[in-house]
Symmetry: C2
Subunit: 109 residues, 2 copies
DNA sequence: AGAAAATGCAACCAATGAGTTGCATTTTAG
DNA sequence: CTAAAATGCAACTCATTGGTTGCATTTTCT
């Protein structure tokens, strides 16, 4: 397994987070906890259907989960894949620091 | 300033990272250090022009920087905005943990 | 000077994405 | 039972995006 493993896997997660509306939904779910579609729609600038679509995109990336509850559907954050994204960013930051260190050492010689 | 500040700002960064090709470019720049366009193209499945476009997208999100050097243009990672993304993920993870704790406490009562 | 290397610029294309509106279906509250 | 609430489904529009090809420009090397 190459050191670049996981790069491909992280892309969909970032793509899902790369939209203001979705990012706002994630932020809201994380701070306020699970909520229904209509609840999430009130407070979002867009339509209920737009919110629904965004939630499905987030679900596709494994970032949220939904449970049917009576006539409403409750959506909640799923933190697993968020960790994947964090790990990627950590690796990149670390790799970059190392690269700078190598560069510095190379210049000093 | 609201606790949700920065949400809007982080979206473009995530969007820039939300593509396999770009993610691979970022990973490569972080592990191997600065490189020219043609160097980055060799190893990427796509065309030089595609790579160029992706680099400009990354630059638009403040993730890379470019310097002209003779007849080639050298691209390098810019770590500042990566930190913004990390902070967002940290905040969301933390918020979610808190939400779960509140939920647990609420159930126990 | 002249060829090869590394980029830049522009037009074009197919696919995807974000958002909407309209109508049907399922639950719940009186 | 019936109206209102919450959601599901589908079609449609418009803009963006990832990618390509073709040709012009700038630098380097011999």
């Amino acid at each position: 397994m190459s050191r670049r493993s996981g790069v491909r896997a992280a892309a969909p997660v970032f793509a899902a987070l790369g939209d203001e509306t979705r990012l706002a939904l994630v932020a809201r779910l994380s701070s306020d906890g699970p909520a229904s579609i209509s609840r999430l729609t009130s407070g979002s600038a867009v339509t209920r259907q737009a919110v629904t679509k965004h939630l499905h995109v987030l679900a596709g990336a494994g970032l949220v989960r939904d449970v049917r509850q009576g006539r409403e559907r409750i959506w909640a954050l799923e933190s697993e894949h968020l960790e994947d994204a964090r790990r990627f960013l950590d690796r990149v930051s670390q790799g970059w620091d190392d690269a700078l260190a190598r560069l510095r050492k190379h210049v000093e010689e």
